[in-house]
Symmetry: none
Subunit: 213 residues, 4 copies
């Protein structure tokens, strides 16, 4: 009946990840609802009580999920910036592709100040934010190195602004719902934004403007 036990640190991290993955999978199926602990545990093939060995609260799991996605994003950005032929447009492309629609950063990010924060140890939230700042500054430095004339701090802030833009556009994106077939009609074109077009355009504009000033 009992699953094999996670003994060393690595196995335990794997269990955490199993739960995180299960949480995210159901979140997507659920159409954007935080799944219940029961659902998550079941999907992970674990008992409900086991969940609480690895996370103090349900929300903690999702904070960690966002943190992981964030790290991945910066990894991609930095990796791209390490290439000798990196361009600004390429960078934006990487960014937009990385945080596309079905990304935890986009979907759960808005909850970070709100639902998630409300039931997560402050220390964990602070830790997350600190990690974000570090990532941001580090990436800002990489940008400054690659694009002379760009200040690292300004780059960091512009990154943050870019994130806000993606976030905003994503909010408006239609969800996967009944209504959406109707909203595809031409009549609704004016309110149909897309990441690929609108977010990209605004962000490109933002960086161009930042570089030239």
């Amino acid at each position: 009946m009992h699953i094999i036990r996670a003994r060393d640190a690595e196995q335990k991290q794997q269990r955490r990840q199993t739960l995180i993955d299960a949480g995210w999978a159901i979140y997507l199926e659920n159409d954007g609802q935080l799944p219940s602990v029961a659902q998550i545990s079941a999907r992970a093939g674990l008992a409900k009580g086991t969940f609480y060995i690895y996370f103090k609260t349900k929300e903690e799991l999702f904070v960690e999920l966002v943190a992981g996605a964030m790290d991945e994003l910066f990894l991609k950005l930095n990796s791209y910036l390490g290439q000798p032929d990196a361009t600004l447009h390429g960078c934006i492309e990487v960014f937009i592709n990385a945080v596309g629609r079905e990304d935890p950063i986009i979907q759960l990010g808005p909850m970070l100040t709100g639902v998630l924060e409300r039931n997560t140890e402050p220390a964990i939230i602070i830790g997350f934010k600190r990690r974000l700042v570090a990532n941001l500054l580090h990436c800002g430095q990489n940008l400054a190195r690659r694009f002379p004339g760009l200040d690292a701090h300004i780059a960091a802030r512009t990154l943050m602004r870019s994130y806000a833009i993606v976030l905003g556009v994503a909010q408006i994106l239609p969800s996967s719902h009944d209504v959406n077939s109707v909203l595809q009609q031409a009549e609704f074109a004016p309110i149909r934004l897309s990441l690929a077009e609108d977010a990209t355009a605004i962000i490109a504009m933002l960086w161009k403007d930042t570089l030239h000033s």
Copy 2:
């Protein structure tokens, strides 16, 4: 014990508004949680059952709340655009001030595709979107009239993009929480965006760019 009955249409609309106001008031006090029907009704001085005479679901109320706030916003914009000395910057200022932090559009907007949509009659959602399109196009025309060289449709889309930007920046704004005293520290400056500064800057850039192309 029974409250005076709402008989004609006007009285009924007033009742609706009482409930909407109550809902919004508690939402703000609740720190961003959708209040329960019990809370809303109690605050409005009505019984729980009465709520369901005026709204089919709780979410419907909040959709209507957003719709009302949206109408108000466009009223302000159009009214400003009617002034002979209206400028683009003034327009942006009106926009940012209107949809500031504590506005239903900003706070509930993100829920529109999600929580609210999920439990509201499709017809009502469609109606809302249609109303938005109409408002958008009408305001776009006003903008085109005021600023020659600006296409009405493009103006409408740029308005929509501006809205996305405000939405995105607002998501990142700190909530009113324990954590926030810590986040005020200098260390976290890179991730602290503000509507007044960042959203305004990005939107200004957006419009400038739109006008010049």
Copy 3:
């Protein structure tokens, strides 16, 4: 499926009482465990949610149960004291019989400062205590009237002490358990106290002493 609705105040009080009775019945069956809300509601033939229409918390029900039993006790005492031939011994007998073993006052009284208090609105606890004081003083006056030379306040305090004695003896009484058949053996005679014998003897002594000083 729905039970008939309690509309006026009287019907509602009846519902409360149904729940209280159910709670007490299961408590006794449970051998001294606070039953779960699910159990109580089921026994009362009501849905779980209905419980919370009548009581804010589970503990509140039991506080009210004790309060009711207390009122009954004082009713009996005062009624006895109203008789022209009331004696002190008779009074003690009434007292001991009233708060016998299976009485909420005895069984739940000890929880009042503790489990019950911990999850009941302070106002309700205070109200209960105030009611107790009033009952106590009133009964003290009746005692003083009946037994000249007895001060009402001293009588009240002696009543309280008598209650403590019954409470203490009752704690030691064997519960209805496996172990008890064994404890019936002669060997354990020294630790077997009884309300009828020990509590009565101590209380009688207490009152005799109080009267003669």
Copy 4:
């Protein structure tokens, strides 16, 4: 990571005591709630599983705690009775001081027939009771020896009654809670009993009466 192993009987008894002490410490901090095994083990610096090497159930620990406190009490009483100038009042004083408010006998005693008994091997409960009887009779003999005219068995029973009185008064003592500041008001004086005053007075009366009959 593993703690040093307890090998001989003495070391093992020490481990038991460590756990018992931890349990009692947390019980007091917890404001009268039986702590969880997790809490106890953590406080004792041991793993949860280790707890079950030393005790079959959580309740068993607390039975043993009470047993230990009981032994201590009788030790004090007998030791006092061994003094050449021992008086009855002195004896009562020793008794009251020994089982004051923060004593396991008082705090957990009421649970012995109830919570604790319910989840402890009958044999252990019986053992405890037998130990109590032995202690009681032995102390009764010491009392009889010291106070001629006092029968050993009667002394034993009177000891038991004294215990009941302390227990009863202690039940009524206010806990350390919100409500208590309010209950300090003069209005509530009639229901405020104390060990030092009320319990002592009743017990003194009891012994005086017992000696003189």
